[in-house]
Symmetry: C2
Subunit: 451 residues, 2 copies
């Protein structure tokens, strides 16, 4: 008799796991049922700011695979079905059909929790007003589109992290007057050290965005049910709508209610095979905690790359194979207009918080040979363990062709290299691509000389 | 009393060694004398094809540091001085002042041989005709400029490797009719496997270059003293001038004549501190053999990156410090118009020649999220040891933002990673920079599934 694999959540982690298990087991061997509470599966949420900005032509292009395509592939996807409880003793999930209003239960042999994350939404007075949005779904993007079409001219974005800046750029591109409110003294505060954020601040302001730092939201004013202003510690900002871009929090309530272990960082606890502590229950994607390879601690890093990898690992193991997830480095990249911003590993601040004796050093370099057209400046910051010279992290802020160099440093970090070793590596060189000393080598050499 | 460091050759390796030693020792502690037979020091030979093509504005921009600048830095640079012999027993070099015609000798405490390499110039009949050039020096570039200004309309380039293609592109850019002659069945034959060279062949021909494969030069016809045609196994090609782009050979004769060890690959033998087998004699740059990290064998890889690193290592050690050169992977990159071509480690053919049981697999991928504007195609080939899954080499051919991804794979190779490990790495992702599975991860995942 076929075993049953049940998956809660039909986005990156869930559908990747389903597809991977399907590749390994026939329909006769393994039934795969996916419950998804929205109407959609497998779409690129990371593309939403670019959809809003008009860089991406159509919402359809963000959809990797529709439910019908998954069904044709032998995966029983049930949209508009919300799992309301997990009965780990009985080995069953309780499911509500949101359209029919009916509740039922389904037995699982293996269960994957892939419930993702939700946008952080602080309990600010007035946050439920119309026009205060997150940008987490295609429906959210459609609502922004509707507001712009209906004549909105001003927008306030709360938070100057990745999402906040991506959304702000998109709205600016559409001709809106954009204000960005940030609690900290610099943008990208969660990922860049303050000394690397200066160029980001300058770029945001040069673009015409009204960036307000050290400004905390206290609430929202409304006219009727509709938001009219954001109230802050530095005054009120009138606006036609608000996008909250404060990052996300794992959707771990379902697991917690079922007695499945949740960690201190708020995500479901899993081992490197994506097993929870509960037999036959697995978890993957934005809802879990991952092992940070540098600190060794658990961290919540909500990113499509991890969701895909973890989904593949979970699907492999749940189908009887063997795979492990190697952990995270906190590698990330974004751009603001032509400014590229990337990081991996620990910032200097994070290294200090982790109790490591580290120093940081910034190197200015050129993307190409100085004499070659299009050579553009970049800054690379390396964070280095003082005693050993081990690379702990890196940050890059620069123009074209700078950001993706972070992957070289992520690979070096993955292999626990010292900056001295990095400086000696055989990286590619030709005048249209780099100076003789690639910026990565130059930065590592400078850091190495300080040990 | 000051010790004397003598350096033969004032280009990348020699001047880097001099500058490094100067940083470590005062003029009172260490005298540094550099003999350079041309009039110039420290210029970017790699930029010459781009100078010819008009991408680089002026020859001056290729000069990193003039002799006077080095002298101001406490380095006694003597241009137009050729070392004609090394007396290792006496610890002295015999030097000819090319302008004065005088010969003298100078004692050294430490000697660095940094004599570089010369363009390969086969003994073809007629090769000494006027208008048959190499493109190795600023004078060569000036001669090409003179020929074009004087009305040359047709050029033949011999060799479709890096230099040949870079020169061909430059001449095409200047409006010439360009023919490229290649002995092998594909361009870039020394660095790419044939299956990866197809797109290069197509790009060369689409650009309007007359690429003749499997065509070997047999000699040159002249009118008066001036070349008029290149004779080959597939017919004669009339031309106004010829550029030979067949790579280089180490200048090791001076060392060999002095009894200093030269290896099978034709370069001076050195250890990882850049010591030759002769006491107090060191060598660095294009004239030496380096250890290939994958094969463990000695190889001649003439590249500015290695010359710089080796010069720094030699300078450090000669000044009493301690440094080692980590070897080479054969990483390289170039572009032909908008096509980027890169490689690291072993090709499938080289792996077979090295006696390794390996397979190659090509993955097609996109530089950015498929829905993001500017997403461009690339091919990544991975060469993998069958038994262990260890990455042995990689090749990339693609459009914008593809080539430099080779550095991630070079870093993986440097750390002896398996393709399974590579596939699990935490590389950066955002829609403007990569798909959720970066091409590198995608290619590694595909290769890993084949083990």
């Amino acid at each position: 008799m076929a075993r049953t694999m049940v998956i809660i959540g039909g986005d990156a982690a869930g559908m990747t796991a389903a597809a991977q298990a399907r590749r390994m087991k026939t329909v006769d061997e393994l039934g795969i049922v996916v419950f998804e509470r929205t109407r959609r599966t497998s779409y690129a949420a990371c593309g939403l700011p670019y959809l809003v900005g008009g860089f991406v032509a159509s919402p359809d292009s963000l959809i990797a695979r529709a439910p019908a395509q998954h069904r044709a592939n032998g995966i029983d996807v049930r949209i508009r079905h919300e799992v309301t409880a997990i009965d780990v003793k009985a080995g069953a999930v309780i499911v509500r059909d949101l359209d029919a209003g009916l509740e039922s239960s389904l037995h699982y042999d293996e269960l994957l929790i892939a419930t993702g994350a939700s946008g952080v939404s602080p309990p600010w007075p007035g946050i439920d007003a119309k026009g205060v949005l997150q940008l987490r779904t295609l429906d959210d993007a459609a609502e922004v589109e509707r507001l712009i079409t209906a004549g909105a001219r001003r927008a306030v974005v709360v938070g100057a992290g990745y999402i906040g800046l991506e959304v702000a750029e998109g709205l600016l591109e559409r001709g809106l007057h954009v204000t960005v409110l940030e609690r900290l003294a610099a943008p990208m505060g969660a990922v860049l050290d303050a000394d690397m954020a200066e160029d980001v601040t300058a770029a945001i302001r040069a673009a015409g965005i009204d960036l307000r730092l050290e400004t905390s939201v206290t609430g929202f004013a409304s006219v009727g049910a509709k938001v009219s202003a954001v109230e802050t510690t530095t005054g009120a900002f009138e606006t036609d709508f608000v996008v909250i871009g404060l990052g996300v929090r794992p959707n771990a309530e379902l697991a917690r209610a079922a007695g499945i272990g949740v960690g201190e960082a708020g995500g479901i606890r899993v081992d490197d095979r994506m097993r929870t502590g509960t037999p036959n229950v697995w978890a993957a994607g934005d809802c879990v905690e991952s092992r940070h390879r540098i600190t060794g601690r658990s961290a919540v890093v909500a990113l499509g790359t991890h969701a895909n990898k973890q989904g593949r690992v979970a699907g492999t193991n749940m189908a009887g194979g063997s795979a492990t997830f190697g952990g995270v480095l906190g590698t990330a990249i974004t751009r603001f207009q032509t400014l590229e911003i990337a990081r991996t590993g620990l910032s200097e601040r994070e290294a200090a918080a982790a109790g490591l004796d580290a120093f940081g050093v910034i190197t200015e370099a050129s993307s190409r040979a100085h004499y070659y057209p299009g050579a553009a400046p970049m800054k690379i910051k390396m964070v280095v363990e003082r005693k050993t010279g081990r690379l702990l992290g890196a940050q890059i802020v620069g123009r074209a062709e700078s950001g993706k160099r972070i992957d070289v440093l992520a690979t070096a970090l993955w292999n626990q290299m010292t900056v001295g070793e990095v400086a000696g590596m055989d990286l590619s060189y030709a005048p249209p691509f780099s100076p003789v000393w690639d910026p990565v080598l130059l930065a590592a050499g400078k850091a190495s000389a300080m040990i």
